[in-house]
């Protein structure tokens, strides 16, 4: 029998241009109501002193975690992690719309569709994947930032991208919360970029779900579980991770000022 699939996303941060084609494509493909979204591009903002500026965009959606808190709080069993492909899915016929899972998700990647009375979120466009298509967001990504595939298959685009990557980042849980082991991996994250608490007060023209409150923790690198490249990267990876952590701490100081 073939090895079980573990679908996940790899996102090359250096190539996201915040064009939002992914967001529109997702809304159309999945008939997302106009006051909700399943997918975000978080703008870390213009950083630095004029004219030495930088700006980084962090696309995200449901992390399809290995250890998803949402499934654990689901009272109806509608939210589950599909053992055949690793995607975290919602059976909307079984969903009673209690919204516990929306609260439980540390990434704010779920919303309650008030009209239908069910919870909705990224399903990895499984309806497309079944028929051999890429998820809508990945298929149309102009910068080539978004990749999707089977992390258990070493020849998949995502696995190859991870094996080539210098450092790999994940957006981590908040301190004090459970480690969710997310399945969106970020590569080519600029050294000085902090993927941190998202709490800018940018007013949106529409009511997107509440601001996500995820953090990348100082120990975030520890959570990256990429066994087939772990050995290869070995020491380098650790050194870079320590360096990154240092940057984060320095960044934190800067941020506090």
């Amino acid at each position: 029998m073939a090895q079980k699939k573990r679908y996940g996303f790899v996102i090359d941060i250096s190539r996201c241009i915040d064009c939002r084609a992914c967001m529109v494509a997702c809304s159309v493909e999945n008939k997302v109501p106009n006051n909700h979204t399943r997918i975000w591009v978080h703008d870390l903002g213009v950083k630095g002193e004029y004219p030495n500026l930088s700006r980084t965009f962090v696309p995200y959606n449901c992390m399809h975690c290995e250890n998803p808190p949402c499934t654990q709080v689901c009272v109806s069993g509608a939210t589950y992690k599909d053992p055949t492909n690793g995607l975290v899915l919602v059976d909307q016929e079984a969903c009673i719309g209690c919204g516990y899972c929306v609260e439980a998700c540390p990434y704010n990647a779920r919303y309650l569709d008030e009209k239908r009375g069910v919870v909705d979120k990224c399903n990895g466009c499984i309806q497309r994947v079944y028929v051999g298509l890429k998820p809508a967001c990945v298929a149309t990504c102009l910068g080539g930032a978004r990749m999707f595939g089977d992390l258990n298959d070493p020849t998949s685009e995502v696995s190859v991208a991870l094996s080539k990557a210098g450092t790999i980042h994940v957006i981590d849980y908040e301190k004090g919360r459970v480690d969710t082991e997310p399945n969106i991996y970020y590569v080519n994250v600029p050294v000085l970029t902090r993927i941190d608490t998202v709490n800018d007060n940018t007013r949106q023209p529409i009511n997107l779900p509440r601001d996500p409150h995820y953090t990348i923790a100082e120990e975030g690198w520890k959570k990256v579980l990429v066994p087939f490249i772990g050995a290869a990267l070995g020491g380098t990876f650790l050194v870079q991770a320590v360096y990154f952590t240092k940057q984060l701490i320095e960044g934190e100081k800067e941020f506090d000022e």
Binding site: S14, D18, A21, L53, Y80, P83, N123, G144, P205
Partner: protein, 723 residues
């Protein structure tokens, strides 16, 4: 268990398809039937139909997913060189243009005062009778030239031009003078072509001058640029704003507005002084190098530094790096550089910079353009002779502006002034001059001078709002347009769903109107498909083939010599013989741009990746994911004025005042402010877009570049205060 659930999930997704069976009898007959016959959809009418996008002028190939007679998703067509399987946000949102709840789906005739927005519905017969009666009456009383025509770049424009030429009017306005006249005319002078193609596959060094390619998106070109950056190609980006393109650049320089010319003259100076140019290429393929050499002698980096605000050593280094990359270097020669009156010589300098490194045939190629591709056209009689002067002064006052570009803003001025004669009617297709022309109040004044205004559009845009008759066009997903050659293929735009309401294709509208104007002979096609068949006839291809695949391959053409140019000399003209004959500077020389007085700001214009010009703001999906359009200001400048983020401010120029929310950001020079165009709609018929943001057209002052006819969109200065 979970497998079962997944299956259930899947079944639910198929619920819509199941509904299709039940509703089968309601599937609109023509489009679905044709698609079934072509085998692009199944028995239920579900499947993918190839067509072409119209959310901007890049015109990507689209595969439209159709379920139950509705289009439910658009995919980029991998077979089209402009999409290569991808669509941008606007392309992805295209079906919401078609399903916009504010669509105009029946002809409308004004019943209230102009601008009151009171219309009544009319039949096509009645509406076309009203339009033709008014047009003929104007023609009879004042001559055909008293009717002005304007339309923005689209595939059916050839039949629009046919209508106005058959009618006998010389007055043709396009959006081009508001956009890229400076680039086009500069390219024509240097290369003898409108816009050479850029190729990023071998590029090693890129200079982008005000070309915000990451936000002003041309899908395949934007992707190619990101691929190049991913390969490690160095990109130098000049812009007074730190745009998203700037965030991807190796080096960003917030150049002083209006001084791109000085920067490029200095690059040329270094490359010539240090003999870093491609001598072989210059000798073989160019003319006028010596004149250039003399002209740029004083334009040293030290000269340019205080003008541009960029360090002399940086300019010198960039010149060296650029010439080191040689023919693998590319200075992007588009689109508007700084939007100043001196944009034309700036564009010329960029074309010359490319010539100096001899990148022709490596990173720059001849444009395929919109050549005929060997397609046929319906037969037609010769056009009536036109003796009247054009209102926009082309060519009698502006000899170098191509007729098909024109000077739109000058045409508006002539309508107001009634010189050289008074215009009386305006025929507008798929265009929104109320928001696109500078100085909005003056555009409304011009409309007030006219007896009759008719607009063709799919929604009640701001210009339709002030029109007497509005004719509803079918959206790009509902109609045929003429076939379009792109590269070595010819692509089709075809209906993927039945046109809603009474909406009709432009091909149909022009033909029916032509008949009533006594111009039936100019429209010798039975219907849209017949038009396509006549186009395909010389190629021996069938309409079915192009409709099934979305394109046909053109026969291998004779390869033109890569190294000939349609200039008077047949070479790349560093010194332009045409300009010399017209007594203009034949090589670019420095022209100091206007500067704001103390306390005033440059008002910059630009683009965002989620909208196209003035036409997409009512699209609910783009509205959903757009940023609130605010006036950008540097924190230093805001502090001086005591302004905070989100303050409501008043911005005033010589010609207008507007109110808008402030965005305080270090992503802009302290002496500039920026406003995204396309917001601040006047039409209450746009219920999504109405009331959002403000229109920079209120503030823009009107300019005409004497050589290219271009409007200088960033040459307006504003003061800002708290409301």
């Amino acid at each position: 268990m979970s497998h079962e659930v997944t299956r259930r999930d899947f079944l639910k997704m198929g619920a819509a398809a199941a509904g299709a069976l039940a509703l089968g009898q309601f599937i609109p007959p023509r489009v679905a039937k044709a698609a079934r016959q072509l085998d692009v959809v199944d028995a239920n009418g579900d499947g993918y139909i190839p067509t072409m996008c119209e959310m901007c002028v890049w015109r990507c190939g689209v595969l439209a997913k159709v379920v139950n007679g509705r289009v439910v998703k658009l995919e980029g067509n991998p077979e089209h060189p402009h999409s290569l399987g991808r669509l941008c946000a606007r392309g992805q949102s295209g079906l919401m243009n078609t399903y916009d709840p504010d669509r105009v789906l029946t002809p409308l005739v004004r019943v209230g005062k102009r601008g009151e927005g009171k219309f009544r519905e009319a039949t096509w017969d009645e509406a076309l009778d009203i339009v033709s009666k008014n047009m003929l009456s104007i023609k009879q009383q004042y001559g055909p030239e008293a009717m002005v025509f304007s339309s923005t770049h689209n595939i059916s424009q050839v039949q629009f031009e046919n209508l106005l030429s058959g009618f006998g009017s010389p007055n043709y306005g396009t959006q081009r003078s508001l956009c890229f006249n400076a680039m086009i005319v500069a390219n024509l002078m240097t290369y003898g072509m409108e816009e050479p193609n850029r190729d990023y596959s071998q590029v090693k060094y890129i200079i982008l001058t005000g070309r915000n390619l990451v936000e002003a998106i041309s899908t395949s070109e934007t992707s190619a640029l990101m691929d190049a950056i991913g390969r490690g190609v160095k990109m130098v980006y000049l812009d007074p704003r730190f745009t998203k393109t700037a965030s991807k650049a190796a080096e960003w320089y917030p150049i002083r507005p209006g001084t791109d010319l000085a920067f490029h003259l200095a690059l040329i100076n270094v490359i010539i002084a240090e003999e870093r140019y491609n001598k072989d290429f210059i000798t073989k393929y160019t003319t006028g190098f010596d004149e250039l050499k003399t002209a740029v002698q004083t334009y040293t980096p030290e000269w340019a530094a205080p003008i541009t605000g960029i360090n002399a050593e940086v300019i010198r280094r960039i010149a060296r790096e650029f010439s080191d990359a040689g023919q693998y270097a590319l200075a992007h020669n588009g689109w508007r550089t700084s939007n100043f009156i001196n944009s034309f010589p700036a564009e010329r300098a960029i074309t010359i910079l490319n010539a100096l490194v001899g990148n022709w045939g490596v990173t720059m190629f001849p444009a395929a353009g919109e050549a005929s591709g060997g397609l046929g056209t319906p037969p037609q009689p010769p056009y009536p002779r036109v003796s009247a002067l054009r209102l926009d002064g082309v060519p009698w006052k502006y000899p170098f502006v191509p007729l098909k570009l024109g000077i739109f803003q000058q045409m508006r001025e002539a309508i107001i002034e009634g010189k050289p004669y008074q215009a009386h009617g305006w025929f507008i297709s798929r265009q929104n001059p109320v928001l696109s022309l500078p100085d909005r109040q003056r555009t409304l004044d011009a409309m007030g001078k006219l007896d009759f205004i008719v607009t063709i559009d799919i929604i009640m845009n701001d210009t339709s709002w002030f029109s007497d008759v509005v004719l509803p066009e079918a959206s790009y997903l509902e109609r045929f347009d003429p076939l379009l050659p792109v590269g070595n293929r010819v692509f089709v735009r075809q209906p993927v769903i039945e046109a809603q309401g009474e909406a009709r294709s432009a091909l149909w509208i022009y033909k029916e109107l032509g008949k009533r104007l006594g111009l039936g002979d100019f429209f010798q096609y039975k219907d849209e498909e017949d038009y396509l068949a006549q186009q395909l006839a010389p190629l021996g291809k069938s309409v079915e083939e192009v409709r099934t695949k979305g394109y046909i391959d053109l026969p291998e053409g004779k390869q033109d010599n890569l190294f000939t140019w349609s200039t008077p000399s047949g070479k790349i003209e560093i010194s332009s013989s045409t300009l010399k004959a017209g007594k203009f500077d034949p090589v670019p020389v420095w022209q100091e741009p206007l500067q704001p007085k103390d306390g005033a700001f440059y008002l910059l214009t630009g683009k965002v990746g989620q909208h196209t010009q003035m036409g997409t703001q009512n699209n609910l999906l783009l509205h959903k994911y757009q940023d609130e359009p605010r006036l950008w200001m540097n924190p230093e400048a805001a502090a001086k004025l005591g302004l905070k983020d989100w303050d409501l401010v008043e911005a005033a120029s010589q010609v207008g005042v507007l109110r808008v929310a402030l965005k305080v950001t270090s992503a802009i020079r302290p002496d500039c402010v920026y406003l995204t165009p396309g917001f601040g709609h006047l039409s209450k018929g746009l219920r999504t877009a109405y009331g959002v943001g403000a229109s920079d057209s209120v503030l823009h002052e009107t300019y005409v570049d004497p050589i290219s006819g271009g409007q200088a969109l960033s040459q307006t200065f504003v003061t800002v205060k708290k409301v």
